[in-house]
């Protein structure tokens, strides 16, 4: 098994190396390092929202998240502020079980997957043009309707330009004004500096994926092109470096997997899953792929479906086949050993 693993990993690494060499040949050396990741937006053709919100897809994403309570409730760094001191208690077994049940209920709120939606369309509706108002003022007026009970996305925000045009405010202005009059806690009016290309590159190099994704979730709406740019670059970085465990058991893993499946990039993840022998997840991943791309597998059995995916749709066929074969051999041997033990105990 370990030999197979070694081989498959080597294969993947080699394919990466060839990729990098190609980039060196084609691009200039300056834009090679970080900008080799092109941002990938959900451009709405087709719209990912309805697929993402399907119940089956949500269940699959939850399965793939591989919930680990210790990781969900791990210590978090909040800087200076200390929220609460932990309380240690003596409990009976039943009480402990109850406490676990309580904790499991809380997990859902921690692991809410950020929604996946198409990128928003620009707002440029002109309501009226009045050249007679030219020269009234040297600055534009921004009018905000602050009527009670209107959602941020539906609030009326208009701009009277200096040339007398009355138009809808663009998204950037809308975000700023909404945050000004109806602030979301911890969100900043200006885009934080960490999202600038050079700083983001540094963060990615240090592997601070959760920090980037958490902050992006807080700062932007999910249909913001900047959000989708940052998130897609981070996802690609995680995928290329095989740092899947960083995102597992966090709320971001669901949308990460959805992103990979949507862009047909699941091979690295599938290899990782098969190598770590979580075959249930491999099935879920292949099924998710079929949901998104309307692929119909001929066989009903799950293992054969994985085989079929590897044969027909995978781009890293050799490595995946090797790993899958290794898994099958290991599983077979395991079965034989178990059978032997049973026989030795006289059970069959």
């Amino acid at each position: 098994m370990s030999v197979f693993r070694h081989f498959s990993r080597k294969l993947v690494l080699n394919t990466f190396k060839s990729d990098i060499k190609l980039q060196i040949n084609t691009h200039c050396s300056v834009c090679l390092r970080f900008l080799s990741y092109q941002p990938i937006h959900y451009d709405g053709k087709p719209d990912p929202g309805p697929v993402f919100i399907k119940k089956e897809v949500q269940t699959l994403l939850r399965t793939l998240t591989r919930v680990d309570l210790a990781k969900v409730f791990k210590k978090r760094r909040f800087g200076e502020t200390q929220l609460q001191q932990p309380v240690y208690k003596f409990m009976t077994d039943e009480q402990l079980q109850e406490a676990y049940e309580e904790a499991k209920k809380k997990v859902d709120t921690f692991l809410q997957i950020p929604p996946v939606v198409a990128v928003r369309k620009p707002k440029d509706k002109v309501l009226s043009k009045d050249p007679a108002l030219q020269g009234l003022d040297t600055s534009a007026f921004v009018f905000t309707d602050i009527s009670y009970g209107v959602r941020d996305s539906e609030r009326m925000i208009l701009v009277r330009e200096t040339d007398g045009t009355l138009r809808e405010a663009d998204w950037e202005t809308r975000d700023r004004i909404n945050q000004l009059y109806f602030p979301v806690a911890q969100r900043q009016i200006q885009t934080p500096k960490m999202f600038q290309d050079s700083n983001l590159e540094d963060l990615l190099k240090r592997g601070e994926y959760n920090f980037i994704l958490d902050r992006a979730c807080l700062q932007f709406d999910p249909n913001d092109p900047l959000y989708q740019k940052i998130v897609s670059i981070t996802y690609q970085c995680v995928n290329d470096n095989n740092h899947f465990n960083e995102l597992r058991s966090t709320r971001h893993f669901g949308s990460f997997v959805f992103f990979l499946a949507w862009n047909k990039l699941i091979d690295n993840l599938l290899l990782d899953i098969i190598e770590s022998e979580h075959i249930e997840e491999a099935k879920a991943l292949v099924e998710l792929y079929s949901h998104i791309h309307q692929v119909k597998y001929e066989s009903k059995e799950n293992l054969q479906q994985i085989d079929e995916y590897i044969k027909n749709h995978a781009s890293k066929k050799a490595a995946l086949e090797l790993a899958f074969q290794a898994y099958k051999n290991a599983a077979k041997r395991k079965g034989e050993v178990e059978e032997g033990i049973k026989r030795a105990h006289g059970l069959s």
Partner: protein, 128 residues
């Protein structure tokens, strides 16, 4: 007793209401609340309700920010409240009311002044 600047909600039933500015902010830094008040009241007396705000100093993006609670403004206008001219001008620019004639006049005057300034500058340029 201190009263909230967002208004007390108390008024005489038959009194005349007016939508107007109240100057908040401080010296050299004007900031206006747009409020519904009884006409007979002084500027800094308790108001009925705040329905918006107006920042006359442009921000770093050269924008003047105006917020209007259009739902409540419509309600008070429907109840026979009056508006002061500056408020009418703002509501006109926002597209809620027709544009006030004073806005057109001010724009026209500013354009005239700008043209006159250009004409004045030209002869000086010729001398050089």
């Amino acid at each position: 007793m201190l009263v909230p600047s967002s208004g007390t909600g108390q008024y005489a039933a038959l009194s005349a209401k007016i939508i107007r500015f109240v100057r908040h902010g401080c010296t050299n830094r004007p900031f206006f609340h747009i409020v519904v008040a009884e006409r007979r009241r002084e500027q800094f007396e308790p108001v009925i309700e705040q329905v918006g705000s107006y920042d006359p100093m442009p921000n770093e993006r050269n924008e003047k920010l105006v917020s209007l609670n259009l739902e409540r403004i419509a309600y008070w206008l429907g109840n026979g409240a009056d508006c002061t001219k500056p408020v009418q001008e703002l509501l006109g620019l926002s597209g809620f009311l027709p544009i006030h004639p004073l806005s057109y006049m001010a724009a026209w005057k500013n354009r005239q002044a700008a043209e006159a300034a250009v004409v004045e500058e030209k002869p000086e340029g010729d001398h050089k």
